[in-house]
């Protein structure tokens, strides 16, 4: 199916799995959908009222008669369980596991900006060279990135379509997740949970670049955790 043409180009290691699953589901339900519609339309035309032709009396009280409905539904159940069985490992890999990270970033959603904190060149958080940036994050391509996500005020949601990544950010919780960007480029990070009147405009830029460029950026921003204003622009 031409599903690909609608999806933004995949840019993470698990995006392919999500896309595959979307296609897989669409094929299976699509065939059932067309079958059901086809039979419906066929019956509508085939059994139009005709003079002299009486309807059949089929109350379907016996199990044998009901089988015409129950058997297809049992088949559908089977297909659905297959879908779930195939999908569960993908979910597990994305949401239930945390592969060892090469980069870690602390992300805070707030009304109405995204704040990113990186450990800086020394690789340790809460040291003098920590990086803190607002609405623009750089990441190295091909590295496993772990995020620690929280929200400052209301629920927000981290949404990166190309990465096929979404995770709600909840105040009072730190939610860990991961992704591995596989393509260099500039990607938009939006907020997918209504969070007030700035919700529409809550957007950050994620720049995925080669390791050297990334490290230059980190060096440039080292120590910014202590100079970046803590109140974001609420224009």
């Amino acid at each position: 199916m031409g599903l690909e043409s609608w999806l933004p180009t995949a840019a993470s290691s698990f995006a392919g799995d999500v896309d595959w699953l979307l296609r897989f589901i669409t094929w299976i339900v699509g065939i059932w959908f067309l079958l059901a519609e086809g039979i419906l339309v066929f019956f509508i035309f085939r059994y139009r009222r005709r003079p002299g032709v009486r309807a059949a009396y089929v109350p379907a009280r016996s199990l044998r008669a009901m089988a015409f409905v129950l058997v297809p539904c049992a088949l559908i159940l089977g297909f659905d369980l297959v879908i779930d069985a195939v999908a569960a490992p993908i979910w597990q890999r994305i949401k239930e596991t945390l592969p060892p990270p090469q980069e870690t970033v602390r992300i805070t959603g707030e009304q109405w900006a995204w704040r990113f904190r990186l450990p800086g060149p020394d690789g340790r958080f809460d040291t003098a060279d920590d990086v803190e940036v607002v609405n623009e994050l750089h990441l190295p391509v091909g590295a496993v990135v772990q995020f620690e996500l929280t929200a400052k005020d209301v629920i927000h949601s981290l949404w990166m379509p190309e990465m096929r990544l979404k995770q709600d950010a909840v105040p009072g919780r730190t939610i860990r997740g991961w992704f591995e960007p596989t393509r260099e480029g500039r990607f938009e990070l939006a907020c997918a949970q209504i969070c007030g009147f700035g919700h529409t405009m809550m957007k950050a830029l994620v720049v995925v670049e080669n390791r050297e460029a990334y490290q230059n950026w980190v060096r440039q921003k080292a120590g910014s955790a202590y100079t970046t204003p803590t109140e974001n622009n609420q224009n």
């Binding site: 589901i25 309807a55 659905d80 779930d84 209301v154 949404w159 909840v170």
Partner: protein, 565 residues
Amino acid sequence: MSAGTPALHHVNQTHARSFWRTWVFSTDHKTIAKQYMFTGLALALIGGFLAYVIRMQLANPGQPVPGYGTIGPGQYNAVVTLHGTIMIFWVAMPILLAGLGNFLIPLMIGAHDMAFPRLNMLSYWVFFTSTLILLASFFVPGGAAAGGWTSYPPLSDRAVNSGVDLGVTLWILAVALEFAAFLMGGINFIVTAINNRAPGMRLFDMPLMVWMEVAASIIFLFSVGPLIAGAVLLLLDRVANTGFYDPARGGDPLLFQHLFWFFGHPEVYVILLPGFGAVAEILPVFARKPIFGYRMIVYSTIVTGVLSFIVWAHHQFIAGIDPRLATPFSITTILISVPIGITLFAFIATLWRGSISFQTPMLFALGMIAVFLLGGVTGIHNGVPATDIYIHDTYFVVAHFHYALIPSVFFAFFAAFYYWFPKMFGRRTYEWLGQLHFWGTFVFMNVTFLPMFFLGLMGHHRRIANPHFFEALRTPEADRLQWIATLGAIGLFASQIPLILNLILSLVRGVRAEKNPWRANTLEWTVDSPPPHGNFANVPVVRRGPYEYSAPGHSEDYLPQDALA
């Protein structure tokens, strides 16, 4: 009333009843039904107008909307919130549950009225009050609630978070009162169906419409409690400075989500089942065949009701719940598609070897099935956690639930409305206007919502006022889809004009309806159109089930439930 006096004296009694007692403060279930229905339809105009505003804004971000003006992002959030809130609580529930249920249940079971007529009247006035409170919220300082119909805290928890103060408090009060009204109504429906059936009407002789209304009432009754508790806590957070949902004070925002969706998911079946009931009544009449698998449908409905209580977290896969909960909830979600599938396939099987005629009620009933199928299958995409990561909170979900809700609420209601209009108002509707209404609604519904699947796949997330802010949504393809959806919406609204015209013309100069214009079996067709106060001069004695159409050995192709053999 003294002991032993039968209630028959109610019928056709010419009390000196004032206009107010007859038409406004009436305890007659038929009048109350119409009150609920017309209130719901009036609110549908408002909900629909809000949808128009949303579509115009999305197609033309930042431009003033004709008939409304410029919308700021804060106002847009309120528009989106009230559109959803109104459509679910002030349109779907009153027209399907309270409207159709109130009118039909006593008539279909052979009763003079509901078990508790005064409670019934009270329920409408509580509902009416809730409507006024909700509408008032538009006009208070700060405007109406703007946190989505789901109203998650902390956004909805403190005025400072959303910028809306009184509006949210009024919203909570309105919803709470609406819940109270429907609890009262629900208890009435359940007790009436259990105890007021005519002699000979066993439970498995009741029309499916009654089963569905009762099942919906039971599901509502058991699911709404925790949300009432949750809403009370939200209200107290707002007005009494408690911290139930405030993590800084030991509370938990996710708690509200669980309480909300524990109700929210069963609620969609509360809204779906009455529509299924209407279709289950209409298909046999217009195919002249019994419903396929009456008991199978009843049992499936019960299973649906039970399962609906254990699927709720599929709305919260990525909300911050323990991810290991996702697959179990996904499995229960997948399971629930089976009883729904059984009912839908039973409907389709009812057509097999039938003798189908295509008057407006049947068109809408068939349209309901055809369109709902797409809503149903796209539920799988949403119910599988790994794909939900991508499509959650995008327009894919919006398309999915409109493909489920519009057929089950609007198509089914329209089917029911055209079908029972003669009984309710004593007039026939204009068939050509009905056909026009159907085709316009059917075509434009698809034109409006099909593009949204693709917009969702493109990454269009929900509740944003300006898609152009995002690169992927600034493309010519995206713009084209937005315009198609918007023009579809305008077409959809325009297609409702034949309905309004039909309503007015039919009431004023429609052909007078006989008792049983559709040659149907259920008991409401044995009394005058419209039925007198008290419905049945003599309580009918029921001799058979409701779907004996084209039964062998009878010259007529229908056999009313109370007819002698």
